[in-house]
Symmetry: C2
Subunit: 205 residues, 2 copies
DNA sequence: TGTTTTTTATACTGTTTCGCATAATATGAA
DNA sequence: TTCATATTATGCGAAACAGTATAAAAAACA
């Protein structure tokens, strides 16, 4: 629970005076979490030290613990943040009623933006990275990753189902199988991006 | 170069008396490298310590250094070994002249065997795991990973090209694009295997 | 002004890490 | 036997690591 500055029963909602008691925070939790996510995405869990995180967020270690818990908890919160961001970036695309082809194009374009961003080289898909590393030994993290996969599968399947209803796809097309293929394509792109396959080639796929 | 016991100009080739000078080795390099590979595959580079490697191989640290160099070199040699093993497992399939459908089935079956093996949970594809972790920051490793991807792409493309010549595929089919799709499928399977998606589901894909 | 509360800043602890130096050991050769 | 060589075994040392204890600082409140 990040406990969002509970305003003392004032009239207007949100963005009003914090009116907290002690010394004010020198950081913004949301911003700091974003920085932590950036680091984890480019280095991975094991290769990211608390000192690195401290430097990146501008918070010293005790503050990190106070705000997010230990390293593992911070990783989990970073991952949840990543998923929320990704969902936000995708949701409007899944909402718009475009023809399936156009829609897929836009989905892959957004995915490429996410995967290729980053100062220290492309960062790929955090879900895929986590699956490749922590998901094996940590059951909680594994559960989140599995959920991430199935969320993507389901979103794609919904797209294809809709397209089928609108007659854009033949009757024989199976939305679930098509969705898995579409997810697979997302995954290769994410992985190849990490190996710095140029954007041009990825777009071709 | 692992320098395979150079026999002193004897008659028979291989498997003859080593005739080395000093204290004999207490380990077999090939076996030890296999153990190191196993560990790296299940834990990843950063989470595997030299003590772990020492325990797994039965060699103490100085011997490890003497035989394989530092941790990074050992990782690279392990990866090369992995690729050699995978190539060996696949080569006979790519050699047999089966119909394309049968051939694909066998390829995916072998891939599943490789990805799901391991005592401490499924270990996935080492190329994919390396791409997700070390490939970003280490140019040499990145180059090897890229080579791994293109090797798989090319092998699949060759399959599809052959199938097209034999009339098993329509004229309109593009072997290169089909190969990328087939690789993508391999990659999702590898990733999902790490997240312990059950074999049944993977087979369905 | 002084107290309470919350956060920051510094520093400490015990462990783990990597790489290597040194000594002991086991073999072939002289 | 004795020497040269190649490996093993022990363990050192400096750095990095995760997590925490303690003190200083900054705000609201009384």
């Amino acid at each position: 629970m990040v406990q969002k500055r509970q305003k003392a029963s004032s009239t207007k909602l949100e963005a009003v005076a914090p009116k907290r008691r002690g010394r004010p925070r020198a950081y913004q939790p949301e911003v700091a979490l974003g920085k932590a996510l950036d680091l984890f995405r480019s280095e991975g869990f094991a290769a990211t030290s608390l000192d690195d995180l401290s430097a990146a967020t501008g918070m010293n270690r005790p503050s990190l613990y106070g705000a997010f818990g230990d390293k593992r908890e911070l990783y989990i919160k970073s991952y949840q943040r990543y998923r929320a961001d990704a969902r936000a970036a995708m949701s409007d695309i899944f909402r718009d009623e475009l023809p399936i082809r156009k829609r897929l194009e836009r989905i892959y374009a957004v995915a490429l933006d996410i995967y290729l961003s980053g100062d220290a080289g492309p960062r790929g898909c955090f879900t895929v990275m986590t699956a490749a590393s922590e998901a094996v030994s940590d059951p909680d993290i594994r559960a989140m990753v599995l959920e991430g996969f199935s969320e993507l599968d389901k979103a794609f399947a919904a797209c294809f189902r809709l397209a089928k209803e609108k007659g854009e796809l033949p009757e024989t097309a199976d939305p679930v199988i098509l969705a898995q293929l579409a997810s697979a394509t997302i995954h290769t792109i994410a992985i190849r991006a990490r190996a710095r396959v140029p954007r041009k080639e990825l777009e071709a796929i």
